[in-house]
């Protein structure tokens, strides 16, 4: 008996998650070695807690007292999903692919021909067919490989959407992925989607996560994006609806070829806890990545964005721009790390985090980091945490606006400046409407 001695007692949630893997939800076939290895890594590390540097401000082990149950997709009540899809947050464009209760649902997804050069399958189908590109993409978690939550996602993934854009295809209108849970009880989902974009292609992806009957759900979702040489990808994501006590963890893995462009944005206007982690790697020269986000938090909500951008080659540009508005007792976290490898000369990196703290008990945690091993680079970062400007409020009041109106106008401006990073106009308008709703709720109280 030469088993390693456990450093500590496993929590109830950890035990349940490991058992779930052992007992096996056998609907997904394929990638079994990959999944077993991932589960082994998760079992070793356990749920992340404060002692794990990347999770210092988000103690998932403490928050996830128990592991919510996944629901068999067969029990899916389609009317619930259909009603959910009529909500404003679900008003995506024509090409939408819906995952409902952990499985791709063709009935809820858009029918009709896809844009030229685009193919879509479920992850389950791709793995069953032994799709080599998909398997390759699943292994390419890059710096995310060491993360226990990423490992858990790989181990327990139920399904997802695999989108392939052929080289040279120009997809005009956004494609949408909707991750839905019926909710109504503490339900879990583990999803993994993949976007493979061929050389010179361009595409916009619009991803929304929502719980139809908001509850203390647990979502662990991830998206892998492979951006080919000369390709352009615009990506906008949001956790649109979940209940009190809910936990949503979303991983984004981006690898980029040469002369490529990736423009990502995430909106978080939602209850519970949201952790977004982004692992991006620039592997081809003359590429540009831009990552942005807006988190609107109230009550005891908690939103954490933790990202790593790895400049593995010279001559690339990276920009990060994240804004938080924190009311009441909410907590915002931004941890950004830009790594510039030794030979990645002429890297141009700029990272900004700006927060407005409105609530007396609200707090913002900023941790920007640069790890620079090359000598000829231009990299900078800045983090500000402040309040609304009293002089600006006075100016607006002196023109007849009430204090509340003045605050709303300034907050809306602060939010809209972040939303400008959303490339697609229709998505930007939808997000702006949600931000306006959030502000209206605030001034209405």
């Amino acid at each position: 008996m030469n088993k390693p001695v456990l450093q500590r007692q496993r929590t109830e949630a950890e035990v349940a998650l490991i058992e779930r893997f052992d007992q096996g939800d056998r609907r997904l076939v394929g990638a079994s070695a990959l999944r077993a290895d991932a589960m082994r890594r998760f079992a070793e590390a356990g749920l992340p807690n404060r002692r794990v540097e990347a999770w210092h401000y988000t103690d998932l082990r403490g928050v996830m007292r128990s592991a919510a149950l996944v629901r068999a997709p067969e029990t899916a009540t389609l009317p619930v999903a259909r009603e959910c899809l009529t909500k404003p947050v679900a008003q995506t464009g024509a090409f939408r692919f819906v995952i409902f209760n952990g499985a791709y649902n063709e009935e809820l997804s858009s029918s009709g021909p896809l844009p030229a050069g685009v193919t879509v399958t479920s992850l389950a189908a791709a793995l069953a067919a032994g799709d080599a590109d998909v398997l390759g993409a699943l292994k390419a978690d890059g710096p995310g490989t060491g993360d226990a939550i990423v490992a858990l996602n790989t181990a327990l993934m139920q399904d997802g959407i695999v989108i392939r854009v052929m080289p040279g295809a120009k997809v005009e209108r956004p494609l949408a992925i909707l991750n839905l849970m019926s909710g109504g009880f503490a339900q879990a989902a583990f999803l993994r989607s993949i976007l493979l974009v061929g050389a010179g292609a361009s595409v916009s992806l619009d991803e929304t996560t929502a719980v139809c009957m908001p509850d203390a759900t647990q979502a662990n979702e991830a998206l892998t994006v492979v951006v080919g040489d000369g390709a352009r990808v615009d990506y906008a994501a949001q956790v649109a609806e979940q209940g009190e006590g809910a936990v949503a963890v979303h991983g984004l893995f981006v690898t980029m070829g040469a002369n490529a462009r990736f423009n990502g944005f995430c909106l978080v206007p939602v209850a519970g806890l949201v952790r977004r982690q982004i692992f991006a790697r620039l592997e081809g020269e003359h590429s540009t990545i831009s990552l942005g986000g807006l988190s609107l938090l109230r009550g005891k909500e908690h939103a954490d964005t933790t990202l790593v951008v790895d400049h593995a080659v010279p001559n690339c540009v990276s920009r990060e721009f994240f804004r938080h508005i924190l009311d009441h007792e909410s907590t915002g976290v931004f941890q950004g790390k830009v790594v510039v490898r030794q030979h990645a000369q002429k890297t141009d990196g700029g990272m900004k985090s700006q927060a407005l703290v409105l609530g007396e008990d609200a707090s913002m945690n900023n941790k920007p980091e640069l790890e620079i091993f090359a000598d000829d680079v231009v990299c900078g970062h800045g983090a500000t945490v402040g309040q609304l400007d009293a002089n600006q409020i006075f100016y607006l009041q002196a023109r007849g606006l009430s204090r509340g109106e003045a605050e709303s106008l300034l907050l809306e401006a602060f939010a809209n400046e972040a939303l400008e990073l959303v490339a697609d106009e229709s998505i930007r308008a939808r997000y702006a409407a949600q931000a306006a709703d959030w502000l209206a709720h605030r001034s209405g109280q």
Partner: protein, 249 residues
């Protein structure tokens, strides 16, 4: 009618206004002149309702009502308008959005319905045209990247749209070249009316060639040191403020 009675104001324990008295009648244009740092802007801020001043004593009455009890919003709605010496830049708020919010706030305060967008656009375009405020300026975020002169014209545009009972112009002439000065002065003169008064704060006599005051007050050391007619401004131009500050010229 605006009446400032025995106004004592301090900031951070330092006395700025020291028993100031001033009356501006309906239809009157009163000028306040005085050296830098004497408290002219403080007076204008206190009348408009900025909060970081400590009013220790005194009253500010607008048509007999003490407005010191009101917040800045209520004062604006009661007809007080301050054209700021340093208008604030508001990034992310389009000038048109701001103007609409201001006009709608005023309409609501007066129990009127909000303006329809076409009427609003027409109103703004007309007023803007007279002040040489271009469409491009109206599309930009409020005051962001505006030149000093553009900011001042934007202040007067707001005053023209809001039609206050009393317009306080705090050094509106600073930063203006001679052509802009004339445009701004014409804008103010066009607003002169029997039931509207102005308090024109300036450091130099020049503005008063264009906006002809009925009365001129000299402010020094936190109070009105002397009151006279337009000739007082000319006299000051020659002799300076030394006689009022007690310092050698």
């Amino acid at each position: 009618m605006l009446e400032v009675k025995n106004l004592h104001v301090s900031v951070g324990g330092r006395k700025i206004l020291d028993g100031l008295n001033l009356t501006v009648k309906d239809g009157e244009v009163a000028a306040i002149m005085g050296p830098n740092g004497t408290g002219k802007s403080t007076l204008s801020y206190v009348i408009a309702g900025r909060e970081d001043y400590e009013v220790e004593e005194g009253e500010v009455l607008l048509d007999g009502v003490n407005i010191l009890e009101m917040d800045a919003t209520e004062r604006a709605n009661a007809g007080v308008f301050l054209a700021f010496q340093y208008p604030l830049e508001i990034p992310g708020v389009a000038t048109m959005t701001f103007l609409k919010a201001a006009l709608n706030a005023q309409a609501r305060a007066r129990g009127q319905g909000e303006l329809q967008t076409p009427d609003f656009m027409k109103k703004v375009r007309e007023a803007a045209g007279k002040l040489g405020v271009g469409q491009d300026m109206l599309k930009r975020p409020l005051n962001v990247g505006f030149s000093g002169g553009e900011k001042k014209r934007m202040e007067i545009l707001q005053m023209a749209l809001l039609q206050p009972k009393i317009g306080i112009l705090d050094e509106t002439d600073s930063g203006l070249d001679i052509d802009a000065l004339r445009i701004v002065a014409d804008g103010v003169n066009a607003l002169r009316a029997k039931d509207r008064s102005f308090l024109v704060i300036t450091h130099y006599q020049r503005l008063l060639d264009y906006i002809k005051p009925d009365t001129v007050h000299v402010m020094a050391k936190g109070k009105i040191a002397r009151t006279g007619g337009p000739e007082l401004a000319l006299e000051l131009e020659k002799s300076g403020y030394a006689a009022f500050t007690g310092e050698a010229a």
